[in-house]
Amino acid sequence: MSTADLEQGFAATISADQRIEPRDWMPEAYRRTLIRQIAQHAHSEIIGMQPEGNWILRAPSLRRKAILIAKVQDEAGHGLYLYAAAETLGVDREALTEKLIESRQKYSSIFNYPTLSFADIGVIGWLVDGAAICNQVPLCRCSYGPYARAMIRICKEESFHQRQGFELLLAMVNGSDAQREMVQESTNRWWWPTVMMFGPPDDDSPNTAQSMEWGIKRHTNDELRQRFVDMAVPQAAALGVSLPDPELVWNEERKAHDYGDPDWEEFKAVVAGAGPTNAQRVARRRRAHENGAWVREAAQAYADKQAARAAGRKDCEVAA
């Protein structure tokens, strides 16, 4: 088949809203874009274990501790599914991890903010997982089959994280004054970084059009951001917390909320590596990876020895 035929077949699959599978032909740029996006997504799951892991040892009740451990464990699982999806495109986990710890690949900017109180655990579930779901639900229909399938499993668990976070906040706002203050302070701190999780505004997002054409992306950044804001407003009201945006108001004509502009300079700085915890997160991941090198080598050496022993036994059987 000529390249033109292959390209035509690919385009036909995309326009029929069918899935591209690993053995199908795909344009190199499509493959590269997917690798970058899936790797970035996988890294986000893994780096995202840190801000929440920060409170596992101090969780203030045994039930909250269990919920938190289970959630962080889920995130490790999400990372595993996604690295496996990336592997179907010909890049292995080890190589991607190297890129992460050398800061040659990115992860979601939201995880470069610190968790400073236990309310942050609830707010991350409510807002950050909530925003992640808005981003990720459309990816369940992504044109690349393995990524779409990974997202289906992930989205189910994310929606649960969101509900657990909200339930923690509900308990806290019904608790002591100090707890209510913690929830409001945490909401104030996380709101804008969460709004920025959807990426730059559409007129400043050069890759969006191509990704949408390929069926990798289904909605623009601003569409997803709007969906998130509209969802968060009534939930904030149910909690009795305010959102720190004086321009946030219902627009009857648009049937949607108007909202203010986030500080895009801060966003750019965090993406460029100057967030409050960028260096700390990457250093921690590097430490785990490097501390674990001897363990991974041992596992490999043991597996090799076992394989050699099995082969040796087979030879004996043949000889006998």
Partner: protein, 307 residues
């Protein structure tokens, strides 16, 4: 080209959005995720068995519960620090299992002592000397994976031998924890044994590290077999197991694993007691104070709070 129809996916996607917008109404039973306490709720309130001293039973539940709670805490230090993502998942899972066992046992201790203390007040408001766990549960790994494996191998081999013998305890809560725990701890022991093999019989470096870790942890084993007065009395009453009786079983398991892993059985002297007292009597290593300082800090800052 493969054709995958997307009905199922769209259905799932719709569900995810729907469950999000329903967040303000939360009646899903999975809200209580990770407790394990619900299953045992009926047993937790059951009466103290005839002829059993309530204070002894409470103390014994604390021993078994604190072992699990503190070991779980140590394991959870590994989350986001493990050598491989699979190990992050497995160690977190082990921590969760033990935490689940601890919660039921602490709740039972609170119930039978009758002083209006629940699992959280027992976990978060007791002082160091009121904890009843063995030292093996509390010593730190310092992020050395070999230490984590050595401790988990010894701890889970011993705990499994205990739980097997507690399946027909006269206390229904202890029997229920044993019933669920046998499967969990069997998995923990197998996990630790598989890694002991890989590390012991892996590279020269991993062999040395695993042997060093084993040597460091081994002196804490003797305490596991030393019965306290409370346990002696409860053995009589058909509630507890004499830990000395687990020695042969644990030894046999360890001998088999160590031989396969090409590791030597350490022969250093056991850690001594202070005037005959150890973890079961509330006399701990220097490590426990630090564990509790961290674990209890937030709960103690907000004594009036509910979480």
């Amino acid at each position: 080209m493969n054709v995958h129809h997307t009905d199922v996916k769209e259905h799932d996607a719709a569900n995810a959005y729907q469950s999000m917008s329903e967040t303000t109404g939360h009646d899903d039973p999975r809200w209580a995720f990770g407790t394990g306490v619900e299953d045992a709720q009926a047993e937790i309130t059951s009466p103290v068995p005839d002829g059993v001293d309530a204070a002894d039973l409470a103390a014994y539940c604390l021993m078994l519960g604190d072992d699990a709670l503190i070991c779980s805490h140590r394991l959870s230090e590994w989350v986001s620090n493990a050598p491989e993502l699979e190990e992050d998942v497995a160690l977190a899972n082990t921590a969760l299992d033990l935490l689940g066992q601890a919660r039921v046992l602490l709740a039972r201790a609170g119930q039978v002592e009758g002083r209006d203390r629940d699992e959280d007040s027992l976990a978060y408001l007791r002082l160091e000397a009121q904890f009843r766990n063995v030292a093996l549960a509390e010593i730190g790994d310092d992020l050395d994976f070999a230490c984590a494996i050595a401790r988990l191998l010894l701890f889970s081999s011993w705990r499994l031998a205990l739980l097997h013998r507690l399946l027909d305890s006269r206390d229904p809560v202890i029997a229920a924890v044993a019933g669920k725990g046998v499967n969990e701890v069997t998995y923990h022991r197998d996990y630790a044994a598989r890694w002991a093999l890989r590390l012991g019989d892996g590279t020269a470096e991993s062999h040395d590290r695993m042997q060093t870790a084993l040597n460091a942890v081994w002196p804490y084993v003797e305490e596991l077999y030393r019965p306290s007065e409370v346990e002696r009395r409860l053995v009589e009453a058909g509630v507890a197991v004499d830990p000395a009786l687990t020695r042969a079983e644990v030894d046999a398991v360890l001998d088999e694993v160590l031989a396969k892993a090409t590791l030597a059985r350490p022969d250093g002297p056991p850690i001594g007691t202070i005037g005959g007292r150890g973890g079961r009597q509330g006399v701990h290593t220097e490590h426990l104070g630090h564990v509790l300082a961290e674990m209890q800090s937030l709960a103690r800052q907000h004594p009036e709070a509910t979480w």
